[in-house]
Symmetry: C2
Subunit: 309 residues, 2 copies
């Protein structure tokens, strides 16, 4: 069985969302344990991960140091986080597997995701990223061509395009590494976004891709049996905040679609997770939304929201 696990922010940042180096290392060390259990049980595992707070930090460094060191584009920041989070994941998983007497090792691919240059989201950026700034500082950056949005009392924040992922270019090397027996980390942060020019040439583009939507594409390309979206809640909650609130267990994708249409799942959070799960189930796979420490139970069918074809 091949399982793709998409690790959310809580697997690599402190509970308050901060991403100091020590926070990242501590969170990933904890996250490695349930993953190592699954690998030790004989499952083929592909990992992908978020990178929001990490990219946020890199953008702030770019901004503050811009008069001394040339800033790098947003897509480069994503590539940078694939390197740092990748090394932490390899070190932590290797250690957790060694403690279990398992020989399997982890390999991390720097990886790109194709998006369309014609994607309408490039014209209307909506994904907030980086720190809040006062209006006058934001105005300066708007004058330099960036999009910033007023978030009221907290200040202004940069918004960037979050286009639809269409293809994970590194699915082929990921499949080769899986076949050779490695745990594979691929498409971190949703993948580094690239567009294909008419002559076939690939070119980086400033955007961030939702990591769960990319996970659904990668899981399908790799023929994974199950995709697990690991987050900070045990299951999707129907009627959240109402007296009728209850967790969603195993559910056919058509019913999940109807539920999503009726409920108000948060656009930057549970919304894309449910969307990604539905897409993967519609492609014939089993999609699980659960918390990191319940992954094993969810694979055994005793926890989580499980969207089935």
């Amino acid at each position: 069985m091949t399982v793709l696990i998409a690790l959310g922010g809580n697997a690599m940042t402190a509970p308050d969302g901060s991403a100091r180096p020590g926070d990242q290392m501590a969170a990933i060390t904890i996250a490695a344990e349930p993953i190592a259990d699954i690998v030790a049980a004989g499952t083929r595992v592909v990992l992908t991960h978020g990178n929001g707070p990490q990219v946020g930090n890199l953008l702030v460094k770019n901004e503050i140091a811009a008069s001394v060191v040339p800033p790098v584009p947003l897509d480069w920041c994503g590539a940078q986080t694939q390197g740092t989070i990748g090394v932490l994941l390899m070190n932590a998983l290797d250690a957790a597997l060694r403690r279990r007497g398992v020989e399997t090792r982890t390999a991390v691919l720097v990886s790109r995701t194709v998006v369309s240059a014609a994607d309408g989201r490039f014209a209307e950026p909506t994904k907030p990223i980086g720190r809040y700034l006062p209006a006058d500082a934001a105005a300066d950056l708007i004058a330099h061509g960036q999009s910033w949005q007023d978030f009221g009392e907290r200040g202004w924040r940069r918004v960037v395009a979050s286009p639809e992922p269409s293809e994970c270019l590194e699915a082929a090397p990921a499949a080769a590494l899986l076949a050779a027996g490695f745990v594979v980390v691929c498409s971190g942060g949703g993948g580094v976004p690239v567009v294909r020019d008419p002559d076939g040439t690939l070119r980086g583009v400033e955007a961030v891709i939702d990591k769960d939507l990319t996970a659904a594409v990668l899981a399908r390309q790799l023929g994974a049996d199950t995709m697990v979206i690991a987050t900070d809640v045990d299951a999707v909650v129907q009627d959240f905040g109402l007296p009728s609130a209850r967790p969603v267990g195993e559910i056919p994708v058509a019913r999940m679609r109807a539920l999503a249409a009726a409920q108000d799942f948060a656009p930057g959070s549970m919304g894309p997770k449910v969307e990604a799960a539905c897409r993967f189930a519609e492609a014939g796979g089993r999609a699980v939304i659960t918390s990191l420490h319940r992954i094993g139970d969810a694979l055994a069918g005793t926890a989580g929201t499980v969207v089935v074809p």
Copy 2:
């Protein structure tokens, strides 16, 4: 035939050494051409690359933004450059191969190199990195535990440890990807340095590893036939700067060792290249030092310094 090519700074920075995003992209686009020719000729290619100016820029950003965003350790900066340079190499090589009608694609591994915690170089850092600062600014950073050195008129510069590489941990996934037909990028910037704790756990450590010395280790681990150190001169020059100056052609490793003992090869530059070439030849391989655009000729035996067993 398997060839490992170690790309020097000139393959990914402007001629003046600057590493603005556009400089990096332009240099890598040019570097991809001779590499694509070699791949098109049917040779299995492994690439590794330097990252000095790129890491230098990241260190400066760390420093300038330190009061707002937590700085990341030096080894994380190396991991970050594996991501950015890796994406540029994939995009450029994919395009160059497509133009030649070649189906081969490139895969980039985030990769670590084992060094010894007992390496004496940790106690006496010698590798200059990052920007020059005035004495008072350097004194501040020395007070924070960093090593800085007086370089006279240009100012003070941080010096870090450059320990001996002993093992490329990602040689196994690199071999799997090569066997599956990919051009593989591995151990960029000499690899992210890790030390092995007594219980076997791996842990990142602040250092930079000479990329040519790592290349020799990786080439040996992969059983490469030839290692090419691609730099900005066509060959090693004996008696450099004297009337008797002449390029070194094919040379047995014992004679190259004798020459290196007699000559004054620059410690941060040609010195480690010659050392790496000798080590690989002593392990039974053929080691070439030449310029990027002469790689093809050097493999055919008509250019470059070729150190043979």
